[in-house]
Symmetry: C2
Subunit: 366 residues, 2 copies
Amino acid sequence: MKFGYYMPVKLVCGRDCVRENAALFAPFGKNALIVTGKSSKTNGALADAEAALSSNGQSSCVYDKIPPNPTVASVREGGRLAREFGAEFIIAIGGGSPMDAAKAIAMLARQEAEDIFSYAPSDDVLPMIHIPTTAGTGSEVTPYSILTNDEKQTKTSISNPAFFPKLAFLDGKYMRSLPQDTTVYTAMDAMSHAMEGMLSVRAGALSDALAKESLRILRAELPALTEGKYSDDDRDALLYASTLAGMVIANTGTCAVHSMGYSLTYFHGAPHGRANGLLLPAFFSVCEERAPARVKEILGAAGFETSEELAAALSPLLGEREKIDGEKLRAYAEKASVNKNIKNCRVHFSEEDLFRVLKNSVGDRQ
Amino acid sequence: MKFGYYMPVKLVCGRDCVRENAALFAPFGKNALIVTGKSSKTNGALADAEAALSSNGQSSCVYDKIPPNPTVASVREGGRLAREFGAEFIIAIGGGSPMDAAKAIAMLARQEAEDIFSYAPSDDVLPMIHIPTTAGTGSEVTPYSILTNDEKQTKTSISNPAFFPKLAFLDGKYMRSLPQDTTVYTAMDAMSHAMEGMLSVRAGALSDALAKESLRILRAELPALTEGKYSDDDRDALLYASTLAGMVIANTGTCAVHSMGYSLTYFHGAPHGRANGLLLPAFFSVCEERAPARVKEILGAAGFETSEELAAALSPLLGEREKIDGEKLRAYAEKASVNKNIKNCRVHFSEEDLFRVLKNSVGDRQ
């Protein structure tokens, strides 16, 4: 038995937990920069956070200019705003984009970083409170910030132990107005985290236990996801499963699926979770040949016998697939083959293997 | 779904993890006070910690005067020693007693506390590294320090978020020379933590998942515990199960079993884990009447159908029972009824209920 495990975020989970725990915001300081997207204005999360702050006499400034797949320019602007406003802490509200961006902003508020992707950050980072409003990224419990890297034409993860938020609030009510495709794709992202985490060379007993619990819950939510009808219990369960899967990758990292998925997002605009969902079955069909016992354990935790069963479950959720020509897929395989996540996988994936997975997932001739 | 969860300790688990991760000790400072019992000198843990420190050029001073069930006098002496030595951090090595004592020492090194049990501590506490060498207390992942309270003739828990160690090393090899009774009683303590944690009013989805995983592992170790023969895999599994159960009570606290058990330890010298093991079945037989579904879930996680099955499994491990007269048990029931843990239980236990559990567990006339 060999593993490392670290997840220092305090979790507060439950209906109306933000308003009911306003006192937890008080020690963070006088001024908060709220980093968010557009939907937090209608799903109630922003209002809840502002009410909590105002009950403590704390001030806030809202920065809502984070695009999906956050750019370096947008986090630089956020960092500048945090400094100008004198923010002592950051509140991130939203899906993966605002939460990942908030981490970079929390750093840029305190540190200059000329090239953000090669920069070795110190732990002088503004403290953060995260309020996820989608159930997929798990960013509220990870030390990762994934940003668009235009120079390398991909998404690149920057990691810093100081990127762990201090506090995360989990309330499924913020997902009530979430579109069906976002709900489905983010659930695929969570599933991908739990599954890839179990295939990581850093997987251990504790991350496995959390991953299996996440997969068990996601499997139970499959009928709701397929039907597109959700009770508040379903939303809570999806959010909890996503946080569990985040706790997994905080300790294991992700593997080849994420490495390949970044190209589908960067070049074809596939939402991140959809990209993972498209690739997962073909990825596991390769893994099945090379690590059959482990794959059986992983798929079994999600209630599937084989990668074909996984494919059959995800297929109706994905609808019509992207069709990408072979030459492009060759280039994406090459790009993925040098991504650091590839080395993180217990199963070796050559460039040819990656191409095969891409071709079988989104090739224009199958 | 409603819960809070916090467990900020970094875990490093694996054979020889202390020596192999000596670099992790370096940032803590120049001087370490090592708080330990006698057995760490023979089980290799002290030598490993000293080797790690010395490879970093760090100095240490060993304080090994912690009695089982640590006294206030012993932690005061430790606090004085930490100040005199200029300790910047504490390394706790051993079972629950040194680890719990180390937390109070880490506080007393920085704060005066006239009455340690009523004192409201600040978070100015020396940082700690814990190396458990028994598998029961889970202290390496909790914010609790349980000390002998002579004024109230019991053991009293003091709690402080700053009591969470920064780092804990888990290596089952330190248990190779552990006596059979200590191995068994500490496993009973871990089982009690997981089971009581699930009956806590603060139990939630995540603590339940960790508790069930702990109980699953403990159940699988029952044959080894009964036979008294352990492989290194068994020791690793017991230690991991104990840490999981510690992560549970860090978030849920314990319930009536611990409240009653303190008297068996204080007045009759029953080792803490043994006291819990003696009381668990009768405790669950009361709970079975009042919360049957939940008890079925808890016992089921440990592979038992009923509290009788639990009793049958634990009985051979307990050997001859303490026989205590009814008048004394009345007094212990009264004492337990005012213990704060009683309110923490989903099942209400009146003083009469507590007496009934004590009588059925260790009464001289059954």
